[in-house]
């Protein structure tokens, strides 16, 4: 008889959140993590002596209910900044500061349009927010709960009123470029606002069908309504989750990779570790991406051909690189007193599109669109006194770069630093260490196949009941006792623990 009834593969934020909820409900849970540290892509790691950063660096989607239910604040979670402004940068032009409520530095026309834009998006977000935190329904074969979810979804749309409902059904399909062009004039403002429409996916401002959905996912957080920055890096969130999980009785084993999931008579019986040790349990939940979960850990022999085909076809190649720089002093960005916001080095949507054009064919641009923060300006635990950490998401870095990343790493890093120096002249002389994590690195270091932020492309064709695919969209899979709780499940990527929490609820309801 095993000590555990539930095993969770991977101690990322979703695995930990799922573990905490299940243990809180009385399950005996073991979390098995291949790395030495919990937290997955959110872990705060030392990338140079005294300098710390985490791959995921902000928490826009974090939900208050999760923080409260798991008592994360008791376990050390706190915010360094409640709501960080976003700053649209363009060389030779004064920056525009974007907050959820207003624009500063923009034209009167754009500022007025921003109010309309936020009002409408806010309304859309309110209508669909409950559904991020719910199990996706089944359309034809669903149970009463699914029917209720679908009914409520329809009702929430209708409740917006005719005009807004119509606008939502049109706008949901607009590419970022058309959406922004309908509202705004300023190129840099449009570039910055379009970033969240596509970041992490193989999409760009001209790509239809994704922009508004991605914005709504970003707006699903309710911790502050803005862009929060956790104290101690994003890892402090996962550390608090781990501590909360442990307080509910969860056991976490790090440095042990699961080699395969054991199946007997079409039901899960446990896992086998890389060393050969077998741990038995009737429920195994994978926080790994769907391809790794089904094809590597479970094995296609346990799945029907159609299902395997649907997993195989998931698009999971990452297009974002992460850059960490150790700086000898605070960087000086032209036009800014202090770089305390989220700085968008995206002077126009065309600039982003051009970078995407290169990446489509396996290359990368010389001018790279970037999202930059300097978290050490507001959190001195991340760098030695007087020194600073710069953390940036850099697009587009194709997973399958032609020639392989080892041949291109230096050039890409040089391009990124060149781009930075257009906005912060002289920054290159402040750099004492640099870490570039390409999608290939993310795959290798964090066991995310394809190095994709969202584990599987976040797009409308892999959304809700299609996430990750039919037959696995309700956190269950065709193999009894095998479940998903990672970003490949609904609602998708982004540091929030919602996939894990939803999975835990679905698993508990199922029994």
């Amino acid at each position: 008889m095993s000590k555990y009834d539930t095993l969770i593969i991977g101690a990322g934020h979703n695995g930990l959140a799922c573990a905490a909820y299940l243990a809180k409900a009385g399950r005996k849970v073991l979390v098995i993590e291949a790395n030495e540290q919990t937290g997955g892509l959110a872990a705060t790691r030392e990338f140079a002596p005294g300098f710390r950063a985490s791959v995921a660096h902000t928490l826009p989607q974090l939900n208050r209910s999760l923080v409260e239910e798991l008592e994360l604040e008791k376990h050390g979670f706190k915010l360094a900044v409640d709501s960080m402004p976003t700053v649209a940068m363009a060389p030779g032009k004064p920056p525009i500061t974007i907050t959820p409520d207003s624009l500063q530095g923009a034209s009167a026309q754009d500022s007025a349009a921003y109010q309309d834009y936020r009002r409408l998006l806010g309304k859309f977000a309110d209508a669909i927010n409950p559904f991020w935190k719910k199990r996706p329904p089944m359309i034809a074969d669903g149970d009463m709960g699914d029917l209720a979810t679908l009914g409520k979804f329809g009702w929430n749309l209708r409740r917006m009123g005719k005009d807004d409902m119509r606008e939502m059904m049109r706008m949901i399909a607009l590419p970022a470029q058309d959406l922004m062009d309908e509202y705004f004039d300023d190129a840099a403002l449009k570039g910055a606002l379009s970033w969240d429409c596509n970041v992490g996916s193989k999409l760009a401002p001209r790509s239809p069908n994704n922009a508004v959905l991605a914005l709504l996912l970003r707006m699903s957080g309710d911790l502050t309504g803005g862009l929060p920055l956790p104290a101690g890096g994003a890892g402090s969130f996962t550390d608090a989750l781990a501590a909360a999980a442990r307080s509910f009785g969860v056991e976490i084993r790090c440095g042990q990779a699961v080699e395969k999931v054991l199946v007997e008579n079409m039901s899960v019986s446990g896992v086998q570790l890389a060393g050969g040790e077998q741990i038995l349990a009737t429920t195994v939940i994978s926080n790994a991406d769907p391809k790794t979960s089904f094809l590597k850990l479970l094995g296609a022999q346990h799945l029907d051909v159609q299902f395997t085909h649907r997993i195989n076809r998931l698009r999971n190649q990452g297009y974002v690189a992460k850059l960490h720089l150790a700086l000898d002093g605070a960087p000086t960005f032209t036009g800014l007193d202090s770089a305390t916001g989220r700085l968008m080095l995206t002077p126009s949507m065309k600039y982003i599109e051009c970078a995407f054009d290169e990446a489509k064919y396996g290359g990368y641009a010389s001018d790279l669109p970037m999202e930059v923060i300097v978290p050490s300006l507001v959190d001195n635990s991340l760098a030695p006194a007087g020194k600073h950490v710069l953390s940036a998401n850099v697009q587009y870095a194709p997973y399958a770069v032609k020639g392989g990343w080892e041949a291109h790493r230096e050039q890409f890093l040089a391009n990124a630093i060149d781009t930075l120096s257009q906005y912060a002249p002289g920054i290159e002389s402040q750099i004492s260490a640099a870490e570039l994590l390409t999608p290939a690195d993310l795959e290798q270091q964090f066991n995310v196949a394809g190095g994709h932020w969202h584990h599987a492309e976040f797009a409308i064709d892999t959304w809700w009941m299609n996430r990750p695919t039919y037959g696995a969209s309700q956190y269950k899979t065709p193999v009894a006792g095998f479940h998903l709780c990672g970003a490949g499940a609904h609602p998708g990527g982004g540091l929030m623990g919602t996939c894990g929490a939803n999975a835990a609820r679905a698993i508990l309801e199922d029994r």
Binding site: A140, R158, M165, P208, N466, Y470
Partner: protein, 576 residues
């Protein structure tokens, strides 16, 4: 000309008198009578634009007993479904060039065969590769399997699955072509009924297929094809329908639907097949005009409309550019939505949000045409001279990447040095288009920008044409030697002649934000305009572009409903 007449004389319908203008030659056997002065000062209904949807709309209104006038700015009818003798001895389908979407039930109901319409099915597309190889598309399944197997056994095995899946979606979507889209925000019994109809058809596919369809509708053609095939040239062959007329690349989400839009038609019930109208595409317009006139409708050409007149919230007629006013309580615009609401309706007559919607309407020019009269049959060395495929249509594309790169050029406002060309050898299938030994070929080019730096000039237009011919000569070195005449059409020419804004062939992009209940704008998808008595019937409305007659027919049904007259518009044929 005598040659063409010899085909038509035996079939002349007694009800129609004959008039030919020197610029227009119809080879079909029914000629329309055009008038140069409206006979009356007031009609029951005026339809603006004698394109195929306008003629269909007018024909149904006339069939219902209304007194109908169609006004047309050009001196010929047909809009983008025309046959014109642009070089003596050759008849050009110089805009649309093939036919599949035309609703069979409209064809039958308006008796278009008697009015001279004959659709000739054609098949056999050869897609050439730069290395001398090719891949062909055959109508026969076994031939297709063997052909794809030459390139990839895996892809040959996938073809059945691919065709089955695509046909399943086509058969679903075909239910909705001759129906008015439901307004999902409405609680009216009719809208709820339509929603139920739609839900039933969807659910009828089964749980799994519902998801597959949702995915399909929102994804890119490139991703869709990648799921079935591994060979670049196989994917290239099937990808071409996904971007025809579309300002998107093969890897842009939403293009899988455009692919479907090109296989959801049929020729005589053979879903997915394409045909040619004998006598050129103008034969369709002429037959529709014949049907219209049989029911007493009139057509006034060379009568561009300056404005739709609105008084006290109702339309009262149209004002022509020459100052004439013609009255009617019903005015139907077959012009694209942008043109309708920004050019021929006064901003003060329509709600301001509608004006904004029209300005934001996406109607992007992305296609060009080069129509060529040939004095001999050019060689395509990859194919033996007597090969059956020599008679089919030709494409020149090795990989989707080449197409995507051509799209990148378009995005940046230039045409590609490596354009995608679909060459249809129309006269091989329809001998009425050229004399023996002569050929008419229609080349469709993707992509061609609506505007280039400094604007389009005749020199730039010719340079574009040269790029196209150079591309063809990469595969047929002696092609240029056979050219007797060619007509080069960039979006600029298409807009100026046909009136399609930016030269967009679909009267508006076929993206989800402009399809079904969103077409042309949310809240205006049921063919009714913003003022009483004003309607839309062009391809800018549901179900969108293509020579389908569906927009015109659907619009007529709504107008008759508002007038409380019995419906005369047929239901669509139901696939078994």
């Amino acid at each position: 000309m005598v040659l063409f007449m010899s085909f038509i004389i035996p079939l002349l319908s007694p009800i129609c008198s004959v008039e030919t203008s020197d610029k227009t030659l119809s080879s079909s056997h029914v000629f329309h009578q055009v008038i140069h002065h409206a006979m009356k000062s007031k009609y029951d209904a005026i339809v603006i634009g004698a394109g195929h949807n306008g003629l269909t709309n007018a024909a149904y209104l006339a069939k219902s007993g209304l007194d109908v006038l169609v006004v047309e700015k050009n001196d010929y009818i047909g809009g983008a479904a025309v046959s014109r003798e642009l070089h003596e001895g050759w008849l050009y389908s110089n805009c649309s060039y093939v036919c599949s979407l035309l609703r069979q039930s409209v064809h039958r109901d308006l008796d278009l065969t008697r009015h001279g319409l004959m659709i000739v099915p054609y098949s056999g597309t050869t897609n050439f590769s730069l290395n001398g190889n090719y891949i062909a598309e055959y109508g026969d399944h076994d031939m297709q399997y063997r052909e794809i197997k030459r390139h990839s056994l895996r892809d040959a095995d996938a073809i059945h699955r691919y065709e089955t899946d695509l046909m399943r979606y086509a058969k679903l979507i075909r239910h909705f072509l001759l129906r008015t889209p439901a307004d999902p925000t409405s609680f009216k019994p009719r809208d709820l009924g339509e929603m139920m109809f739609m839900a039933k058809k969807f659910a009828g596919m089964g749980e799994e297929q519902v998801y597959e369809f949702i995915r399909f509708m929102t994804m890119s053609a490139g991703d869709f094809l990648d799921e079935y095939f591994e060979s670049d040239i196989v994917k290239a062959l099937y990808s071409t329908s996904s971007i025809i007329g579309t300002a998107l690349g093969v890897y842009s989400p939403g293009t899988a639907y455009v692919l479907l839009h090109h296989v959801m038609g049929d020729v005589d019930g053979a879903v997915g097949a394409w045909g040619l109208a004998r006598g050129g595409m103008g034969a369709i317009s002429n037959a529709l005009a014949g049907a219209l006139q049989e029911h007493g409708g009139e057509i006034l050409t060379e009568a561009p409309v300056a404005q739709i007149i609105v008084k006290n919230g109702s339309t009262t007629g149209v004002a022509l550019e020459d100052g004439r006013e013609i009255n009617a309580d019903i005015v139907v615009s077959n012009l694209d939505p942008k043109r309708t609401f920004t050019k021929i309706m006064d901003a003060g007559d329509i709600p301001s949000d509608l004006r904004k919607k029209a300005e934001n309407f996406k109607i992007r020019g992305s296609s060009g045409k080069v129509n060529i009269a040939l004095t001999g049959k050019p060689d395509f060395p990859s194919l033996p001279a007597d090969h059956k495929l020599r008679n089919g249509s030709f494409q020149f594309l090795d990989s989707m990447e080449r197409m995507e790169r051509a799209y990148d050029d378009w995005k940046h406002g230039r045409w590609s040095d490596d354009p995608f060309i679909e060459m249809t050898q129309s006269s091989v299938w329809d001998p009425t288009l050229a004399s023996p030994g002569h050929y008419f070929v229609s080349c469709f080019i993707q992509y061609c920008p609506a505007d280039v730096e400094g604007g389009w000039t005749p020199e730039k237009r010719d340079a574009f044409g040269k790029t196209v011919i150079d591309q063809i000569c990469n595969y047929s070195p002696n092609f240029r030697d056979h050219i007797a005449h060619m007509e080069i059409r960039t979006p600029f020419e298409i807009e100026n002649e046909i009136g399609l804004t930016e030269g967009n062939i679909f009267q508006g992009e076929l993206t989800i934000d402009q399809l079904m209940f969103n077409r042309p704008f949310p809240g205006y998808s049921q063919y009714r305009g913003p003022v009483k008595g004003m309607y839309m019937c062009g391809s800018g409305t549901h179900p969108g572009g293509g020579v389908s007659s569906a927009c015109g027919a659907n619009s007529a049904r709504e107008i008759l409903m508002d007038l409380k007259r019995p419906n005369v518009v047929p239901e669509d044929d139901v696939d078994e």
